[in-house]
Structure formats: C-alpha cells, structure tokens
C-alpha cells in the first residue's frame, strides 16, 4: 500500500522525465496496478519463462528498456508475442509486478504503433476478435483454417490429419454459433472503443 503511494507520488510529480512518461503510459494501459516501477531486475521472470529461448529479450530486459524509455525497441520486441500467459513469473515475482498483463499492454501498444515485426500473432488475435465481434463466440474452425492457410500454408498438409480428426470427431463446427443479443454486445463494444479512444 505505502509503496504504491510512494512510487505514485514520486514519479507522478515529475512530468518532465520522458523515460518515466513511457513507463507511466504502459502502466496506464495495464488492467491492474502494474507495479512496473518496483522491478528490481532479479530475473525471476526470465528464469521462469517457458519460451524464453524464443524471445528477443527476457521480460526483465524489457522492463529495463521501458524504464529507460526505449519506446521503439520495447514495442518492436517479439517478447510479448511469445509470452504464453503461464503466469509463472507473476506468482514468483518478488515484487508483485503484474508481468503477464504488462505483456498484453505491450502487444496492444505495439499494434497501435504498428511496431511488431511478425504479423502472425497480431493477425491471429485480430481475426479471433473479428469473429467474436461478429458472432459473440469464437469460431475455431474458420479461424484455424484461415490462419494456417495465410501464415503456414506449407504446414497445412501436415496439419490436415489433425484438422480432419477434429472435424470427424465433431470437435469443430463448420458453421459459427451466434449469440442471440449480438446487437447488445456490439453496442457495448462500440461504447468501449469510444471510451478507449479507438473510434
């Protein structure tokens, strides 16, 4: 509690510092209280991260970059896109930083700043969300097929048996479900986007 107040007061009172402005921006766009400013660079996150090997930077490095105000570098890092949301880092972090949620924040900021390198993940999220916004439900079949065709056409033959299996075992529906009150949902999402300043 106190630490929150202290850190908040300490840097909220210093608008002059551009580095902190980026840190604040990230915190502001994070769902919970990010506590990013509390990071002591111990590396628990990087050590815990299952796919760390595939990341440009370990989460810890990313946080250092954020604090240093390296906007471009941080937002174009593939790290948030590799994050599998396993929350190992979150529960182990000795400083209680909401790491996983910061990763989500960085993704959305990267998309807005068009700074991501590989479009695979953003596209996947995008089309996933398109479905939701259209039907109110996810639509694995349409999603998987389109997505694979676009990004891993060469894998498709390999994947075919699995996809086929999923179909024949009736674990994928050809047609999407739609919720009854889709208008209500869409209205809500519209308003939400206004609040967010997206539309």
């Amino acid at each position: 509690m106190t630490s929150e107040i202290q850190t908040k007061t300490s840097f909220l009172h210093d608008p002059s510092n551009p580095n902190l402005r980026f840190l604040e921006e990230v915190s502001a766009h994070t769902a919970g209280v990010s506590r990013l400013e509390m990071c002591i660079q111990c590396g628990t996150c990087g050590g815990s991260c299952p796919p760390a090997a595939d990341m440009d930077h370990t989460p810890r490095m990313l946080f250092a970059m954020i604090r240093a105000g390296f906007r471009e570098e941080a937002l174009s890092s593939n790290t948030p896109w590799i994050c599998v949301s396993c929350y190992h880092c979150v529960v182990r972090c000795p400083q209680g930083v909401h790491i996983a949620d910061v990763m989500y924040t960085l993704k959305s900021m990267a998309i807005r700043a068009k700074l991501y390198q590989d479009s695979t993940a953003p596209d996947f999220s995008r089309s996933f969300v398109d479905n939701i916004e259209k039907y109110g439900r996810s639509y694995e079949f349409g999603l998987a097929t389109r997505h694979y065709l676009k990004h891993f056409p060469l894998r498709l033959p390999g994947m075919a048996p699995m996809g086929f299996g999923m179909l024949t075992k009736q674990r994928m529906d050809i047609m999407p479900h739609k919720i009854d009150n889709i208008d209500q949902l869409q209205a809500i999402l519209e308003r939400a986007k206004e609040v967010e300043g997206l539309s």
Partner: protein, 329 residues
C-alpha cells in the same frame, strides 16, 4: 441458501472440448451439482482480445458477469470449467476493483447495452474448486463404484487455473494438490508430476508452432518418464494442444509419444461406472483404448466422420466463405 451455480461454459465446451461438457453433464447428477447456464453468454476473448485492447476486452468479459448477476437470485457463484474463461472472468472482477477507473470505463460501456456489474459482487470459481471444496471428496468417494485401481495418471492443471489465483482459492500456485486428491479419491495411482502446472503452449500452437511443440514435448516426455498411462487435465486448450497437436509434435521432433490426455470429469464418470461413450470417450485423437482396458472398460466405437461435412478439397481444409478472404485465395 440457493444451491445452484451460475454456469459459464465457454466456447470450447461446445466444440473442441465436447468430451468435457458431455462428461460434466453426466457427473452432475450423481454428485448433486446444479449448474444453471448464463443466458446468452459470450466468448471471454481468450488470451487474444486483452492483447489488442483494454476496455473493449474487459467489457466483453464483464458482459457475462453482468448477465450472471441478473440471474443470480440468492447464489453468488459463477462456475467456469475452462481455464482461460475462468481466469478472464476472475481477472475482470479483480482488476475492476484494483483499478476503479477500469471498473468505471467498463460499466460505461456496459451501460450502452443496459447492463451493469458491481465488481466483487460475484465469486468466480473453477469447476474443480467447487467439486473439491463445496461438493467434497467424501461425496465423490461415495459415488465411486469402479475404482481406477492401478491406473497411473499424471494430474495436469496447466497454468491459468492455479495462477495467478487472485483470491487464494488454491493450495499452491505451482504445486496445487486439489486434482491429485480428487484422482486419488477415484482410486487412481497419481504420479508426482513435476510439470503439473507448466505450460502447454497456449495459443502458440496457432502463432508459433515450434515454440508450442517444444512445450508440448516437455510435458508429454516428462509424463512418459514417470510412466503415466494418461494425462488428466481440466482445461480445453491444454487438452486440445496435447491431444490434437501431439502427432504434429512427434513429426517435428521425430519422436513417437502416444500419451492420451482426457478431462478429469471423464475419469470421474468412469469411476462412477458410467459408460465411456456417454463420457465423450472416442473424441480424443490420441486413443484411450489401452488405458480404458487397464480398468476394464469397453472402449466406444471411434466416432466416424459425418458425411455431410466431408472435405471438398483433396488436401488442406475447405475454406468457409468469409468477408476479407480476397487476399488469401
């Protein structure tokens, strides 16, 4: 006190995790679990929406809670069987309290649909939590007619149920014992699976298969080292990744693992003496025949392709006609 639970199935329960919902439906009656589905619930956005936006994503999730509170009358508990759904609902509820501004924004959005949700007014819990802590293992034990004696199972919870565990509902975020205790109650031989809460790759199977395959390999090989005959899980995504992508993973690493993975509700059903088909057996891609035989259960006929849905192309999968497909074909 109202003993019903508000039930949020989540999309997968109707598609990739049919076996989960079928088996759940089958065991509800014996253990006296009353689930009332939330009317017109919508997708929770999985891990995708929150990676694109904040308020819209949380509004999407919270619509379900708002609908739930309309149905609440007396009960305050929302049950989700799917890990990702459970976490998203819990998360929204928690963060709307931790960051009041988020709460305000979300409710501003919900207002557009004539809805409102007071964060903290509902308890969001996972199915397993409810079965262990409300129904109780004694009740479960009393229903066991076919103990799974000798069956070596690897309890696999995945990430999003025990972590981050905002409300401290689980014995431990890394080595929770709830699932182990349940499976032991069913008479199974439970291995001390070190990776019980490690990651299956989540959506990486879609966007970074190589990353995902490595994570799947770790789990499957470790379970194999411990001579588990089956992995038992409680999350559709985990089940799907390890089951559906196991073949692909084998191809990738030139390995030949055949580690079946099923839902804990399916095992409960078996122990309760229900028949395998009714429990959704046969829907898995990595067969469970051997495992079933170990406990003397007749494996159901593998589910056959539905003619109507025969693929039109020779290879690859049929493309549904959807707007914005121009660039692909």
């Amino acid at each position: 006190m109202n003993d019903k639970y508000l039930y949020y199935p989540g999309c997968s329960m109707e598609s990739s995790a049919k076996a989960y919902s079928e088996s759940l439906a089958a065991i509800c009656e014996p253990i006296g679990l009353h689930l009332e589905e939330i009317n017109d619930w919508n997708c929770c956005g999985a891990t995708e929406y929150i990676g694109i936006s904040l308020t819209p994503a949380y509004s999407l999730i919270t619509r379900n809670l708002a609908l739930a509170s309309l149905q609440a009358d007396g009960t305050r508990t929302v049950v989700a069987p799917c890990s990702a759904c459970y976490l998203n609902l819990a998360k929204a509820d928690y963060y709307m309290q931790e960051r009041p501004i988020l709460g305000e924004n979300v409710n501003t959005a919900l207002a557009a649909g004539g809805l409102h949700y007071d964060p903290g007014s509902l308890f969001i819990r996972h199915l397993l939590d409810v079965i262990i802590n409300d129904i109780g293992l004694d009740k479960v034990k009393s229903k066991v007619v076919r103990p799974l004696t000798g069956l070596r199972v690897a309890p696999y919870l995945g990430c999003m149920v025990p972590r981050p565990d905002y409300e401290h509902r689980w014995s431990n975020p890394e080595y929770p014992n709830e699932l182990d205790r349940l499976l032991k109650t069913l008479g199974a031989e439970v291995i001390d699976f070190p990776l019980k809460t490690h990651c299956c790759g989540g959506h990486m199977t879609q966007i970074g298969p190589n990353t995902a395959f490595e994570l799947i390999r770790r789990l499957v090989s470790s379970a194999d080292q411990y001579r588990a005959e089956v992995m038992v899980t409680l999350g559709p995504m985990c089940q799907m990744n390890i089951d559906a992508y196991q073949g692909e993973m084998n191809r990738h690493f030139h390995t030949d693992y055949r580690m079946p993975i099923i839902f804990f509700t399916q095992l409960m059903g078996l122990a309760f003496g229900l028949n395998a088909k009714q429990l959704g057996f046969g829907r898995e891609l990595v067969g469970t025949r051997e495992m079933l035989q170990r406990i003397g259960v007749e494996a159901p006929e593998p589910i056959e392709a539905v003619p109507a849905h025969k693929p039109r192309m020779k290879e690859g999968l049929p493309m549904p006609r959807m707007p914005g497909d121009e660039e692909v074909n």
